[in-house]
Symmetry: C2
Subunit: 198 residues, 2 copies
Amino acid sequence: MSKETHAVGDIKSPAGPGRPRAFDEAEALEKALCVFWHKGYETASVDDLTKAMGLSRSSFYGTFGNKQALFHKALRHYSRRGLKNLRDVADAGGNDPVGAIMEALANPQGGRDGCMLINCLTELAPHDDEVAALGRQHLESIDEIIARALEPSDPGQVLDKARAYASLAIGTLALRKAGVPDEQISQTLKQARLVISP
Amino acid sequence: MSKETHAVGDIKSPAGPGRPRAFDEAEALEKALCVFWHKGYETASVDDLTKAMGLSRSSFYGTFGNKQALFHKALRHYSRRGLKNLRDVADAGGNDPVGAIMEALANPQGGRDGCMLINCLTELAPHDDEVAALGRQHLESIDEIIARALEPSDPGQVLDKARAYASLAIGTLALRKAGVPDEQISQTLKQARLVISP
DNA sequence: CTAATATTGGACCGATTGGTCCAATAATAT
DNA sequence: ATATTATTGGACCAATCGGTCCAATATTAG
């Protein structure tokens, strides 16, 4: 169905002569990411995006295809980066890696905007299979990261426990959206330790 | 700023003669609620709403004012009904009221659409103070309900514990959105018991 | 030089958005 | 009968939506 064969995620992969790109595609993607993060998918208009990315409408469509393709690309990028960051947090998490992971999950860089992936999951997953699939995969990865951090000090049921910890952290994002102060969220999170009943 | 003084939430409160309402306002509100629940606020168009409610555009605006006012009214109604239901669940929750509450929270009637209030919180709270305030109030009420169910078997820190339980249950809504099977969610939820560290 | 590509900016498109207005009609009260 | 209100359905509005297209220009490779 696609018009030509391209490199994954790219609309055009020029080879021959011609004027080179004047803007950095990665930077532009990052700017778009911020807009989607802050406003959500539907509410972010193409005008919003092009202005934030510093692109003309022509360059926008020529480079990224359309709004939805750009969005999916941005979301995949966000997921990849977020998981990498989470693994780093786990590795550097001292004597309480699980606590560190949960803090990172509950305090995304977006501040009150929360976690972009959870936002988009809420907005689009029931009507967009690709987003739902990416969301499932992202959440699974989070479970694995927590499980790995949990394993040394606890032999069994690490995956079930990890899932519960992940849900707990993700649940607090709703509180942040509602404007509950950071202190309370942090306190609730720090005090909660899970016990898995057999 | 309002043109006249009206009963709370009503645009018109007729008293004198005239043709009576042919439709049930509560029923219409319920239909609108379902549309907002399923599609979200922005994506639900006035056409979607009027069709679902069985109203002409004129009756729609004449009765509910505008889309946003209708939405706020529906959301308040949803919150009220949900909290009442939750209290009933807690009362009828046998030997494990907290488990029953969490099941109810994690399995809202909307199925994969999840909890309307959490959805709307995610979509609108950062840009709509009224929604944020309603969300905060709703979440606080949930905390209180869980705390009350927790109290008999546990003296201290019931509120902190309740907050963690609530976040845990709410977090699983994201899993449901992503398409994680009910069984896994239910299992994760049942196995998780919380311990609050001092 | 030429050919090829990028960039810009704006015109333009059809569709949809939330919302208003109106004329005709129907049902109620006094 | 008259006044009042509800209801309908569609015309209509300005604004915005995502997306296409084009002409002009700039920058590269050969």
